[in-house]
């Protein structure tokens, strides 16, 4: 499907702009942890951000940093941790080498998005190259700004179809003093869904709230000063049966989620936007397609669905659309979008940012 005609590796934003201008069809790639996003039907010159890396500015007192798009989220996490700070949305594919630019363009947030929001809630500004090859700055470098249009948010989930990210500015938070993960066991998906809803509305302010692919184990993470977490966790465990995990077990459990080790290595992986109420229906759908696994994250607001290669993507798509849900395929051979409708405004905005269709079509 993919035709790679060349691979350009610019080392500065200006070189990135030049690379875009030099080719009629261009698609930016980072570490390729979500390979379906760069499989385009008519081919394109791939521009890699692997040499476009490094933290440009980090002001711990301001709760902000700016980094080149190819910087790995792992490196960023380490630098932030050195100052007691973090990106609260838990960037995914940390060990796999995911880049900051790819994280924004794919619009994928981890379990921590539950408490304070996802990529869209922490992005403050971008420098990007538009379809005319111009290096442009939008948004700002301060935590509060509403001058101009909020293109930085628009780029979250835009898959490089409207522009190529050169540099991104993010808001960060002080890391909580401690974390404590509870594994809650329920009788099945209906009961687990009620736990998601009740815990989300509780006084505990959970930090993460995920339902594991077994459809009945809820992982609830608390964050804050350690003595407070002990009291809160006792109250949670009085409400539902379960156990508190040791630091090592908790890290292993969240790393399994973050690196998608629970998913089929060679199958299709789809991100689906959901609400807690549809979790049981989605679970039933998964059961109707043999071997399909579902990981529900962010308190029932996003599901990652892994299909084994034996399942026909068309059958999956029909059933997902029947539930009125929409999704984007991150890995494997399945249509890119599901349940996403064409609008005149999407074509008009594509035309505005990329008049020569230098970047791949928004359709696939």
């Amino acid at each position: 499907m993919i035709q790679v005609s060349a691979l350009l590796t610019p080392t500065t934003p200006a070189e990135l702009a030049e690379a875009v201008r030099s080719q009629p069809r261009v698609l930016a790639v980072g570490a390729r942890t979500k390979p379906r996003l760069s499989q385009v039907p008519n081919g394109a010159t791939l521009v890699s951000t692997r040499a476009l890396r490094g933290i440009v500015e980090y002001e711990p007192d301001e709760f902000t940093f700016t980094a080149l798009a190819g910087t790995s989220v792992r490196e960023i996490g380490q630098v932030l941790a050195g100052k007691g700070q973090y990106l609260p949305f838990d960037p995914m594919w940390l060990e796999a080498g995911a880049t900051l630019g790819g994280t924004v363009a794919a619009g994928v947030s981890g379990p921590g998005r539950f408490r304070f929001g996802g990529v869209r809630d922490f992005i403050l500004g971008v420098r990007f190259v538009d379809g005319q090859g111009r290096l442009l700055r939008m948004g700002g470098k301060v935590v509060k700004n509403c001058a101009g249009f909020d293109l930085p948010k628009f780029f979250v989930g835009s898959l490089g179809r409207y522009g190529v990210l050169a540099e991104v500015t993010f808001k960060v938070f002080p890391a909580p003093a401690a974390r404590l993960t509870l594994k809650l066991t329920t009788s099945g998906v209906e009961a687990a869904t009620r736990v998601l809803m009740d815990a989300a509305n509780s006084r505990w302010e959970p930090d993460a709230l995920d339902l594991l692919p077994d459809g009945k184990t809820v992982c609830l993470r608390l964050a804050g000063p350690a003595p407070a977490l002990e009291t809160l966790s006792r109250e949670v465990l009085t409400r539902w049966p379960g156990q508190a995990l040791s630091t090592e077990s908790a890290e292993a459990a969240w790393s399994e989620v973050r690196e998608f080790r629970w998913a089929h290595a060679d199958g299709v992986l789809v991100k689906v936007a959901i609400t807690p109420a549809v979790v049981p229906s989605l679970d039933a759908l998964a059961r109707s397609l043999d071997g399909t696994r579902v990981h529900v994250s962010a308190g029932g607001n996003v599901a990652f669905v892994s299909l084994p290669s034996s399942v026909q993507p068309t059958a999956w798509h029909e059933r997902l659309c029947a539930l009125g849900l929409s999704g984007v395929t991150l890995r494997g051979n399945a249509p890119l979008w599901c349940g996403v409708h064409k609008t005149a405004i999407a074509s008009a905005v594509k035309q505005a940012l990329d008049p020569q269709n230098r970047f791949p079509s928004t359709d696939d």
Binding site: E59, P60, D61, E62, G84, G107, F116, G117, G118, R120, R134, L136, R137, M138, K141, V142, V143, K144, N145, C146, A147, G148, F149, D150, L151, F154, F155, V156, G157, S158, P174, A200, S202, R203, E205, G224, P225, P227, A228, T231, K271, V272, A273, I274, T275, P276, A277, G299, N301, V302, S326, V328, W337, V340, A344, I345, A348, V349, Q351, A352
Partner: protein
């Protein structure tokens, strides 16, 4: 154009199309009171279908329209245009859905901000963004201007709480983006729509995320001899790793005003008062408050007053929230700026604002969101005095340029509107402005949706405007 008014009259019952000068007078201005424009007519839809019908009519007629909620924009965002109509959304006040299990509310654009939290309160939920005008401003206006409030560092702005938008665009196209999920698929259209300042179209239905009300609060008020000391206290709090829900500072003039207006009780002899608030589960707050109180106590306050109960907390906030209107009592007129500077440069920024105000012979009060570096200098003037408004605007301009030089922004939460038209091209270069104009044209090719806001109306950015406002030069505006 008279014909357009006749055809407009056919769209709605006669009592909902206003054309008489005495009827239009109430719509001539918003909270940027120095500017007034009389529109051709005011249309008052009662349903979202009527809004769509009106926008499509405007598209066919190439008739400019300005959507208006409660008219609280401080940047002149809902200032009418002389050759266009105002679409008043105050009757679209239905909360269409309130779902405590999913923690969302779906509202029409005319719903008042505070009404959302009021409706959610029985479920122990609330809507987080709380601009000072929350009791009257509407969600439609909040979305259009991406409004903020006192809790933005921790909770973000309006855009961070909008999950879904159904809108009619400047082309008449009706779109639906996002929905009840906190996640979205594809580009974040809702994020882009927030803060469009009415240039993309009109939001018809807005899905808001609701958050559980914090179980416990700890609010501290501390008075300082100097603004620098208050600024240093903010730095110490931020460096401690605590994440307060709000960090606010008021200066001497703002304090004087609040004392006069609502008999707020502040420590005497202070040049600055700092308010810091923690929130969360009671166990967390119990531990964090000890750390916070120790940091404040060590920051050389004249006096420190932790709120001992809910009433004392409300009293602290009442003084803060009334500061704007209180300053209004000190002076016949004022301009509120809302530039942003990096937090570490707050002290320097305030010192320079003080110097610039003295040089200009203009009084300036400061009430600001210290946690996120969002300044709110209130520049006082008497509009009846020759040249006073010009001096106030000149000072406002110098403050905005200082914010840009410091690496900040010309607006944190009020928007560009007509007020900061000159300064957007200072913050962004010509290619970037061109990109924004192309985007705007995609949503509104005829340039009929709130024309003359954010960008000068003629089209090309005015890079070095001096003296008269661009709209004033064009003869579209008049001042009091």
């Amino acid at each position: 154009m008279t014909d357009a008014r006749h055809r407009l009259a056919a769209l709605l019952p006669p009592d909902r199309v206003l054309t008489q000068p005495e009827q239009l007078a109430a719509y001539e201005s918003d909270a940027l009171t120095a500017f007034r424009t009389c529109p051709l007519a005011v249309a008052i839809p009662e349903t979202t279908d009527e809004v769509v019908k009106l926008v499509r009519f405007c598209y066919q007629e190439r008739l400019p329209f300005v959507a208006r909620g409660s008219g609280t924009s401080l940047s002149g965002g809902s200032l009418p245009v002389a050759d266009g109509i105002v679409i008043a959304l105050n009757r679209l006040t239905r909360i269409l859905r309130l779902d405590p299990a999913q923690r969302i509310a779906v509202v029409e654009p005319g719903v008042v901000n505070a009404q959302v939290s009021l409706a959610a309160a029985p479920h122990r939920l609330h809507y987080a963004p709380d601009p000072s005008s929350a009791l009257i401003c509407t969600i439609g206006g909040n979305v259009a201007f991406n409004s903020g409030g006192a809790h933005c560092l921790k909770y973000g702005m309006t855009a961070n709480h909008v999950l879904g938008i159904k809108a009619v665009l400047g082309t008449g196209e009706v779109v639906e983006w996002g929905g009840a999920s906190r996640e979205h698929i594809g580009p974040d259209w809702c994020g882009l729509f927030n803060g469009n300042e009415g240039l993309f179209g009109i939001a018809l239905e807005i899905t808001l995320q609701l958050l559980p009300r914090a179980e416990c609060f700890h609010t501290v008020l501390a008075g300082y001899r100097t603004l620098e000391q208050a600024g240093d206290a903010v730095s110490a709090v931020v460096a401690s790793g605590l994440l307060p829900g709000a960090i606010e500072i008021m200066d001497a003039l703002a304090l004087e005003a609040a004392v006069a207006a609502v008999h707020a009780d502040y420590p005497p002899g202070c040049e600055a008062v700092l308010i810091v608030e923690l929130e969360g589960p009671r166990e967390t707050v119990a531990l964090d408050r000890v750390r916070l109180d120790a940091i404040i106590a060590g920051s050389h306050p004249v006096e420190m007053r932790p709120a001992r109960d809910a009433d004392e907390r409300l009293a602290i906030w009442k003084g803060r929230k009334s500061a704007f209107s209180a300053v209004g009592r000190l002076s016949p007129d004022f301009i509120v700026q809302d530039g942003v500077v990096p937090r570490r440069r707050l002290g320097e920024a305030l010192r320079r604002i003080g110097e610039m105000a003295r040089e200009a012979g203009v009084r300036c009060a400061n009430v600001f969101h210290a946690g996120d570096g969002n300044l709110h200098p209130l520049i006082l003037y008497d509009g009846r005095e020759a040249g006073a408004l010009q001096r106030a605007e000149a000072l406002a301009g110098r403050i905005l340029r200082m914010c840009i030089e410091m690496g900040g922004s010309i607006t944190g939460e009020h928007g560009v509107g007509v007020e900061k038209l000159e300064y957007l091209p200072v913050m962004f270069n010509a290619d970037e402005i061109d990109c924004m104009m192309r985007l705007r044209a995609a949503f509104d090719p005829h340039c009929i949706a709130n024309p003359g806001k954010k960008f000068p109306r003629a089209g090309a950015p005015a890079l070095q405007q001096r003296g008269l406002h661009p709209l004033e030069k064009a003869g579209v505006l008049s001042r009091e």
